[in-house]
């Protein structure tokens, strides 16, 4: 999956997905609608799309979608 597709998949997990713009460097936890359930939803999306169980601890250490994407690439 390309980075842009990955960011789009992440955007779909936001409750107000149609109203937000995201890019690879967005500090996504600062978006108003982000909460712990959005985070859980992103983790489930990663599991479904990549068959990778990312721990919450590692997920919490990543600030941008690019950082998460790069990590996933190393885990494939």
């Amino acid at each position: 999956m390309e980075l842009n597709n990955f960011i789009e998949k992440c955007r779909e997990q936001f409750v107000d997905a149609d109203e937000i713009d995201l890019n690879e460097n967005t500090l996504f936890r600062e978006i108003g609608s982000y909460d712990s359930l959005t985070g859980m939803s992103i983790l489930f999306m990663i599991k479904d799309e990549f068959n990778i169980d990312l721990s919450e601890e590692i997920y919490k250490s990543k600030k941008t979608f690019k950082e998460i994407y790069d990590l996933i690439e190393t885990m494939k």
């Binding site: 909460d35 712990s36 359930l37 859980m40 939803s41 489930f44």
Partner: protein
């Protein structure tokens, strides 16, 4: 073997309401739009101070009797699903037998389940009918969870509302009734998650404990005397386990998802429902959501949604319904209902 049919259903919501504007006024840091966006709920109905599970159950059952041509003397078993009974004892279903004027030859019992309770109730009712212990089972779900919510617990306050539903499950079909044949069941339980949705104090184990107010990461007050829910843990359980449950349920009923015309899941929270729907590969147009008026009424959300779907004509071309409940316990269950002529 006998079949069991859902023939009639009605529900009751208390008159008092708590809408998003009222919550926003109490907790100004939460906007009206944000509450609606996060939960999909506009209005919750709140039981009056002197209104309890048996009162709401009575109202739901009375609505059923008046709406349908049901002779209440034909009812030979009452099942009441509640986690907020009027008393520790006696059994609230026994109070209802008397108040509803049901036969003294009627069996009656309460069972303690939450959001999965309606599915389990259907399973119990079907088993009673198939084993010739009953012909007409009155299944009632009734909860006053809002009485368990701390006044400053804004998180649970936005999600839960009170309500009751009454459903008649019969051995025989009847003209002009719903006639939904109840299929096979798959259940699941994970008691390791019990503490994730709990009212810890007040029962026999912690009868004399006194809870202390603590503030959680969302700014909500938590206290062991009141309802506690770890939303993240419940979300994790639901998103992880329900897709597997649904697959097992479809297999046990020997159908595929393509054969399902409409799915009605426990109406917990719109965001979570959407994630679960996606993970179950159910198309949006086949997934019924209708709880913006009422909120999460625990074991009553599925029968309320079913009744609303019926009233709206959303069941007009529906033959096969997929039902699933999940939550406190942690507990889950699913079945198929096939609507017959």
């Amino acid at each position: 073997m006998n079949q069991a049919y859902i023939t009639a259903l009605s529900y009751y919501l208390p008159a008092n309401i708590l809408d998003n504007k009222m919550i926003s006024e109490l907790h100004p840091e939460w906007s009206i739009d944000k509450i609606a966006l996060k939960t999909g709920i506009e209005v919750r109905h709140i039981s009056a101070e002197d209104e309890f599970a048996s009162d709401m159950a009575y109202s739901a059952a009375s609505a059923l009797f008046s709406e349908y041509d049901v002779d209440k003397h034909d009812i030979d078993f009452v099942l009441l699903c509640t986690q907020s009974p009027d008393h520790f004892l006696p059994t609230t279903a026994c109070l209802l037998q008397e108040r509803l004027g049901l036969s003294k030859n009627c069996g009656a019992l309460d069972f303690n389940l939450g959001c999965s309770g309606f599915i389990y109730g259907l399973g119990l009712a079907k088993a009673l009918i198939q084993s010739d212990q009953a012909k007409n089972v009155l299944l009632i779900t009734s909860e006053t969870y809002t009485k368990y919510i701390h006044p400053n617990d804004k998180t649970n306050k936005t999600i839960f509302g009170d309500g009751a539903a009454a459903v008649l499950i019969s051995k025989e079909k009847s003209d002009g009734m719903l006639n939904g044949r109840i299929g096979n069941f798959v259940y699941g339980t994970d008691g390791s998650g019990a503490s994730n949705l709990i009212v810890k104090n007040g029962g026999a184990r912690f009868k004399n404990e006194v809870g202390i107010d603590l503030i959680d990461e969302n700014g909500s007050t938590v206290n062991d005397d009141y309802l506690y829910m770890d939303g993240k843990a419940i979300f994790n359980f639901t998103a992880s386990e329900i897709p597997k449950l649904i697959k097992k349920g479809l297999d046990k009923n020997e159908i595929s998802l393509d054969n399902v015309d409409l799915a009605i899941f426990h109406q917990a929270n719109e965001y979570m429902l959407n994630v679960v729907r996606t993970r179950c590969n159910i198309a949006k147009e086949k997934f019924y959501v209708n709880f913006s008026d009422g909120g999460n009424t625990v074991s009553s959300t599925i029968p309320i949604a079913l009744k609303r779907a019926l009233n709206e004509g959303a069941l007009a071309n529906v033959k096969t319904l997929l039902l699933a409940g999940f939550g406190v316990g942690l507990s889950m269950g699913t079945t198929i209902v096939t609507i017959e002529e």
